[in-house]
Assembly symmetry: C2
């Protein structure tokens, strides 16, 4: 596998990017601890190659703070609380801040209850679902995360933007191998990925999107309506994920978000659970079984055009390892967005090019 930069990329050091990102957040009033936490999760996302959901989203978040839509100093409040559940009022926090708080609460509950389920409302975009789902891993737990979305996907049998492209993630610990990590949305693609393909001037695959007339197109610039993954399956998955993150947290269903919304109904609802493996079986028994599974997958015969079979999350872990050492290749337009913002805020840019 080749994770080397293209001629449109600039390679940046992960630690420097983390420090830089944190400074930008602090510059607009985010307390240092929160700024570091968000910067850490976003650079982790870049390191895993999910560029659409990492620091590329940072300027949007910071401008959201400057516009008064995102609260840099939220008072997160637990408004419902019980043995294995909680509901968290996000006070228009950055999604990463409310998300990390909620998942850590879920982890605490899972330690004694076996599972902890926590919903957060009145908060914002949480980046890559996987980076929050992975927080329970170091506690010997399985993590799950999902979020509401905006109306952008056609229902199965429909042709307009009605359903969300609700992202969700599962993270499952192995023993000596990297974790198995699922990170997906319910459309055929993610909007962020379509943006990345626009950035690199690539065509979309057939069956991905409709244009504004409800006709299929392969031009990322004309993409208006995403199609659901596998028709009825992706459609149903989106509604299930939305029920957990929207109606259950009190944030409301994505499908119902039309017209002007009050400030507390804008943004995202988030839902998490952490599942304590030791409650069910000895942790080593579990993680050794996952290791065996990974070896079995790797040794299975590849299809034509593939060098071998990878497990979900493996390529991301390989990128993370290589890019932590060698630097992260980021598209120059991605870095230009960060540089423009830094200049506005008086923060020095640390890369050349």
């Amino acid at each position: 596998m080749n994770f080397d930069p293209t001629d449109q990329d600039i390679v940046v050091n992960a630690d420097e990017l983390r420090e830089f990102a944190s400074q930008l957040y602090q510059e607009v009033g985010v307390p240092k601890t929160d700024a570091n936490a968000v910067a850490h999760l976003q650079v982790e996302t870049d390191l895993r190659g999910i560029h659409s959901h990492g620091t590329r989203a940072l300027p949007g978040y910071v401008r959201g703070i400057l516009a008064g839509n995102i609260n840099p100093t939220p008072n997160l409040e637990i408004t419902r609380d019980g043995p294995a559940f909680a509901r968290v009022y996000g006070d228009r926090a950055l999604g990463h801040v409310a998300g990390k708080f909620s998942m850590e609460l879920a982890i605490e509950k899972a330690k004694t209850a076996g599972i902890g389920a926590v919903g957060a409302y009145t908060t914002n975009h949480f980046g890559a679902a996987s980076c929050l789902a992975m927080l329970p891993l170091e506690h010997g737990m399985i993590g799950f995360s999902t979020s509401t979305s905006s109306r952008g996907v056609a229902p199965y049998g429909g042709k307009t933007r009605v359903v969300g492209n609700n992202p969700f993630a599962y993270a499952v610990p192995a023993k000596t191998e990297p974790p198995i990590v699922l990170d997906m949305a319910c459309g055929v693609s993610a909007w962020g990925r379509i943006g990345t393909m626009r950035l690199y001037g690539k065509k979309l695959e057939p069956g991905w999107v409709l244009d504004e007339d409800g006709k299929e197109t392969d031009d990322p610039n004309k993409a208006r309506v995403l199609l659901p993954l596998g028709g009825p399956k992706g459609y149903a998955l989106a509604l299930a994920m939305d029920a957990l993150s929207g109606p259950l947290t009190g944030m409301g269903a994505t499908v119902n978000k039309k017209g002007d919304l009050p400030l507390d109904k804008q943004g995202s609802g988030l839902f998490f659970y952490a599942l304590n493996i030791e409650s069910f079986v000895p942790l080593d028994e579990f993680t050794e079984e996952i290791d065996r599974e990974i070896h079995e997958l790797r040794s299975s015969p590849p299809a034509d055009g593939f060098d071998r079979v990878y497990f979900p999350g493996e390529l991301e872990a390989m990128k993370q390892e290589q890019w932590s050492a060698d630097g992260i290749p980021l598209h120059r337009d991605h870095l230009k967005g960060l540089a423009d913002l830094a200049t506005e805020l008086g923060v020095p840019v640390f890369w050349q090019g």
Copy 2:
């Protein structure tokens, strides 16, 4: 929508089918309460149009009991127990029996803990995932169910039967509308559906299956390897569902099930959770939001070739209503399988044709 019988179907009364199915189970030693429960779930499955997973599976289950692989009188045992979790030893029970027991335990735990997560091991096929996921609905809860599977799906980038086609379901209550129900497996199709298409002499769609040489085929008789839904997404979903139902319950990963297995590692691992809506938000607020969502979906413009947009579970609910009144159309080969078994067991057949 037309749910009328084809010329290959025979229409049977649901109550009579339920009574007949229960008698067949009792005939091979299943206690009356369990026999009624399994028959009820299987006829419910037929009523919802999921014929591949309803009474068509009954002869296989009964022959499994006669062969000694399925235990008609299991001692279900709670081997791990806590505030929001439990692990259930299935003693080679019918999957419906262990599944209903486990989900009911999850519901009890969710009443106080907010969520209850229960895994069952050393049990068997539980039929349609949705019929168990729907049990929490009448308690004002969201239900989730999943199961291990057999090696039948190619990993993304592979071409042989390595991964399971793990089924899973979510059920979400509405107020005046039927529930939103997702019921899917992680392959492009379910093996049962391929069996149904073989029964009706239909061709498979492109991209569904590979033959024994790893080449694509549209002939249901040549189908040997299922492809995962949406490539890497279905592949990752299968492994996530499997981690919950296999390694977490102690049943082991489907991917690792090769060669001869000890009796207690044959069959299925099952995983369920019930999520108590009232722990998070007032139940009426939640269900009214889901009703609004359903109305919004129904009123969205249909794509070419569709009469209108349906929500997931809506067609199933419509079938259930119509067929409860008018009878269930079942393929004559499906009924012949039941009739042959009934003749062997000395149980009278109640339908003509």
